[in-house]
Subunit: 339 residues, 2 copies
């Protein structure tokens, strides 16, 4: 067993601007052996998320920064191969922050076991029922607090989080407008997901299209992007609007000093800009996942996944999050699903 190889991607350098392949180092290590109270997980899927860009910085964010040489951080779904932990058995499917590698030894802390009874495909648990879905759910419902009849605007609406936010908005009775960067994505939002309108921010005038599709102003803005879009939205917000700050992907690779929007309208409209992180709301995760599973079964929430084969492709695949070329939740198939 110990002669098997564990491939890993480790942090080689802190990226400046765009993430480059050379920011990662490919390592071959022996597969680790679990000690008492530990278990060995074979990783099946690795989630690629915009948050990874922040984890690569040196400065302290909401989690400690990675050190150079550390295995790159990432959410994973895997199968227990060996267990010396009383709560886990070989064959259990688990999710957790096990990183960019093929195998990991864990002590069970932070690991979630999936129900055997589930009939959903495994990738759903790294997307709509994983951090992605929970981010959409907690961000929109706990921070945005949508009321029926309100107008919700979602940026990066065809992204993994944004697409779920918009559908939850429809379930809550909102008028939902999304922005995306291709006609195909816009078409998917309105024709498949039930968005009331979609704006191609690359070809349309944001101000004109937002004004047209939000005739009653904007009550909630779910922000994944930052930059010009946020500035434009702030000129159209209603009294007591809520700006749910989920991400600012347009500035994650910035090398220059970043500025933000004029905040004058936040005073005039007594509005609120609030940041959040889904993991802060995990005490309600069980209810949230149960709601999301019900809505998926009813066909009211649809999701798509974009799966890239092979751990070796992770460093190039992750750049697709930043150029917008992924279609759905991006993840790596690290190894085969168990039969």
């Amino acid at each position: 067993m110990s002669s098997r190889i564990n491939h890993q991607w480790c942090l080689a350098s802190r990226p400046v601007g765009q993430i480059k392949q050379s920011d990662f180092a490919w390592k071959e290590m022996p597969v680790p052996i679990p000690e008492d109270g530990e278990l060995l997980v074979r990783i099946i899927y690795l989630s690629l998320d915009p948050a990874a860009r922040g984890w690569m910085y040196e400065k302290v964010s909401y989690v400690p920064p990675l050190a150079i040489g550390d295995v790159m951080r990432g959410f994973t779904l895997g199968v227990v191969e060996q267990s010396r932990h009383p709560k886990f058995n070989p064959g259990d499917i688990v999710s957790g922050l096990l990183g960019w590698q093929e195998f990991a030894v864990a002590n069970g802390k932070g690991l979630m076991k999936l129900s055997k009874a589930s009939s959903f495909p495994l990738p759903a648990f790294l997307s709509v029922f994983g951090l992605t879905g929970l981010t959409a759910y907690f961000g929109l419902l706990n921070i945005g607090k949508p009321e029926a009849g309100e107008t919700l605007v979602v940026s990066a609406a065809a992204g993994a989080v944004g697409s779920i936010v918009g559908q939850l908005g429809k379930i809550k009775g909102c008028h939902v407008v999304g922005t995306a960067g291709t006609e195909e994505k816009c078409h998917w939002l309105t024709e498949e997901l039930g968005f009331d309108a979609a704006i191609n921010y690359k070809t349309e005038s944001l101000r004109r299209s937002l004004s047209m599709h939000c005739p009653n102003g904007i009550d909630i803005y779910f922000e994944n992007v930052g930059g010009t879009l946020l500035e434009t939205v702030l000129t159209l917000i209603n009294l007591r609007a809520r700006i749910v700050l989920c991400g600012l992907i347009s500035q994650y690779n910035a090398t220059d000093r970043v500025s933000g929007p004029d905040l004058a309208s936040i005073i005039q409209k007594r509005a609120r800009i609030e940041g959040f992180i889904a993991t802060d709301h995990y005490q309600r995760a069980k209810d949230a996942i149960s709601d999301l599973q019900k809505w998926v079964l009813e066909g009211r929430v649809k999701y798509r996944v974009d799966i890239v084969n092979g751990l070796e492709n992770a460093p190039t695949a992750i750049s697709r999050l930043f150029d917008g070329s992924n279609k759905g939740k991006l993840m790596i198939r690290v190894s085969e699903e168990p039969l």
Copy 2:
């Protein structure tokens, strides 16, 4: 009676950049005569507030914009001279939005009658017990929600609102740090008002001084200014910090496009930026004024007023709000107090 003259300052042009005397036109009108259900008020004090700059713009803010030729908007304290309104009698002292003029006819709507029993000097009712004090009270307590032991930073801390915010912060058990633009103001904050520290933003490094005086980070920031100060504060905020957006005076006279701070830390710290306007909270004004009066009597809240004689001086006096040369709540003595 109708041969008496009512001097007025009317909006002559919408200011570009700094407010200029030529943006106002001096008019002489006959003193108006109240009809049935109306009353005539002789104005004693006129409050000069940063919000006036916004009222002069054409665009719709939280109140309708003034038209060119309108009497300039402003809060006033006056004495009823004649009344054909059942709820007001000659001699009553009233406050309300009666504008930059010597006399006004009103229908009673939006007018507040002062208690005859009050032993406080009249200017207190345009400052600590007026919109100024209520702005500090509702902004800090309802939006900032201070907890004992937290660190509160106040910008324009020697200003009319900021000086009260800091003292309320001390009453609530916070560590309070203020910024101001002169040594005299800083001295007043720490030696007279009980601030824990004051930073002269014109001579000190903001980042170094804020770090030094806020060793446990910043939990609440009461924002009157905007610009570099807000940017620097956002690099020092704690988890779940509250940014109370009261004013952005540094940008009110801007002629170029204004940008704001990088909002990345708002996500990382799950923080909140919230705008407010004191008048939204008026249903609680009675309790607030009663608290403020108690604290003033106990010596726990001090205030100072900066009174300029003569309505003719209003257009030049108001610029002192923007260059920071006023010392305390700025107001115009339009006519003499009744004996």
